[in-house]
């Protein structure tokens, strides 16, 4: 039981100024198999060959709501490239998620972590937390807290992972 928390100490974040993705040193990539809003199952393994941004969020999380449009802008800037976004919602009713997305439409896939088991496997204790997974399926970067994902520096870091 106590060993579950060993990875928590890795989640440093700077609130202002140096908004840089943190290279991942936290070990292997946990499994991720979740359904989207239409009930379709998504497995992270099926995204091999793409860079995947996995964002854990909730409608009750103010910073999560604030950064979502920037994730959408990042996705649109990568149009046509092997890049995907999976936004994992923590344990909220479908109706509440749909209401939020009706007001803030996004172009990426929203997945439902109904029992928070995936969030726990990914150590998503503080929201929002985002992982960037490389085309080989390995986590390359993480970021805890809200970030402007469309800023050029962040976009360049992620684009550098894309396969040629």
């Amino acid at each position: 039981m106590r060993s579950i928390l060993l990875a928590l100490a890795a989640a440093w974040m700077t609130a202002a100024g140096a908004q840089e993705l943190k290279p991942w040193t936290g070990g292997g990539t946990p499994a991720l198999v979740l359904e989207d809003l239409d009930g379709r199952s998504h497995r992270l393994e099926s995204y091999r060959g793409k860079v995947v941004l996995i964002n854990f969020w909730a409608t009750w999380c103010e910073p999560c709501r604030e950064e979502m449009p920037s994730i959408d802008r990042l996705l649109r800037s990568m149009d046509g490239r092997p890049f995907a976004v999976l936004a994992v919602n923590l344990a909220e009713p479908l109706s509440r998620i749909r209401t939020y997305l009706d007001k803030t439409p996004v172009g990426f896939t929203v997945l439902l972590d109904r029992d928070t088991s995936v969030a726990k496997a990914w150590k998503a204790r503080i929201l929002p937390v985002t992982y960037v997974v490389g085309p080989d399926g390995k986590i390359r970067y993480s970021y805890v807290g809200e970030l402007d994902w469309s800023q050029e520096k962040v976009r360049r870091t992620i684009a550098a992972l894309l396969p040629p």
């Binding site: 009750w60 928070t116 402007d148």
Partner: protein
């Protein structure tokens, strides 16, 4: 992005699906979801400032599940730390020297379900604790010794009791019969059970009385632990004293206790709350034999109403990143802060201003 904007917005933007205060809590057999929001302001900052906020229990149980936490504010660094030994999750925030208005807001969402253990029938498959866990949960802490007067008292109490349940019950009844809730105790009490026994001053609050249960149980070889937390809703069982009456719960910290028995697992108890019913349940100062007290006494050996957030089970805590010279904390239930190298008074939410609010969430 300036996170000060989040604080302005968050006051107006209630959590999606929040319920009107007091309207939620009728069905105790199902999971209920709550948000607890903690706002911290360091008044008169001098030099660098720091704050520590306990987060909900990390490990899911069949009565408590953490969903997630979020923060906003103008801290330069925010870090979720584990105390290491007990697995307590602590959100640590730091502001640099020169920050004139250190602000932090932490929202935690969690779910609870009322808990009751049927002590009439042991269940096959629930064995003893591992040797390592047995040692861990019968060991002393800095303020909860298991030798000397504590052991002597425990041995006297459990004489003739054969099973761990019998021993725990004897200790529970002794705590209810011999201790009292002292309204003059500051905060929840520090749990210095040796001093309490030596001075024969058995008054205190939950941090004292439930620590007494834990210390006596451990001394008697019954694994036991305190569970530190926060009341978050009214009681639906008709006890005004065992719940909160308003959304602001900055002073609603409450600790409970558990013991472990083969066949039953971890069993919840709360002798401190029985004494709270005695003192505070209207009209107040009830007799121990009052029917309300007797009903609570019966229910609180083996059951908890889960209008309560569980933080952790940690003792003897060194706050991570602290620079102020200060003793270890006997437990982590309160917001802690420091500025200019000085620890702030965790029991005075106005001295460095923290406010904790609760709301139920629609399913």
């Amino acid at each position: 992005m300036d996170r000060r904007a989040f604080l302005k917005v968050s006051a107006a933007a209630a959590s999606a699906g929040s319920l009107p205060w007091g309207s939620v809590f009728a069905n105790t057999a199902e999971w209920r979801t709550y948000d607890v929001t903690t706002k911290v302001t360091i008044l008169k900052p001098r030099g660098a400032s720091r704050a520590w906020v306990p987060l909900p229990l990390v490990d899911d149980t069949d009565w408590h599940r953490a969903i997630g936490n979020s923060w906003s504010g103008n801290a330069a660094k925010v870090h979720v730390h584990s105390d290491g030994k007990y697995g307590a999750a602590i959100l640590f925030a730091e502001w640099r020297e020169g920050e004139e208005t250190p602000l932090l807001e932490v929202t935690s969402r969690f779910m609870t379900k009322d808990r009751a253990v049927d002590l009439s029938k042991p269940r096959a498959g629930i064995g003893r604790l591992s040797p390592a866990d047995y040692t861990f949960y019968t060991a002393p802490t800095e303020l909860i010794p298991t030798d000397g007067i504590v052991r002597e008292t425990a041995q006297e109490i459990v004489r003739g009791a054969r099973t761990d349940v019998d021993k725990a019950r004897a200790i529970y009844e002794w705590v209810v019969d011999n201790t009292f809730r002292d309204p003059k105790t500051r905060g929840c009490g520090w749990g210095d059970i040796k001093s309490m026994l030596e001075t024969k001053n058995l008054g205190g609050k939950c941090g004292d009385l439930n620590a007494m249960f834990v210390g006596l149980s451990r001394s008697a070889g019954v694994p036991a632990r305190d569970v530190y937390g926060l009341r978050v809703a009214p009681s639906v069982h008709g006890y005004r004293s065992l719940g909160v009456g308003a959304p602001v719960i900055s002073k609603a910290q409450h600790c409970r206790a558990e013991f472990y028995a083969q066949g039953f697992g971890w069993v919840p108890v709360d002798p401190a709350d029985v004494r709270k019913v005695v003192l505070e349940e209207p009209p107040g100062n009830l007799a121990v034999k009052d029917p309300k007290v007797e009903a609570a006494r019966k229910r609180l050996f083996g059951g908890w109403e889960m209008n309560w957030l569980a933080y952790n089970m940690a003792h003897d805590i060194v706050l991570p990143g602290a620079t102020a010279k200060a003793p270890k904390l006997p437990y982590l239930m309160y917001i802690n802060g420091e500025t200019g190298g000085e620890r702030l008074d965790q029991l005075e939410p106005d001295s460095f201003r923290y406010e904790i609010r609760t709301s139920g969430v629609k399913a």
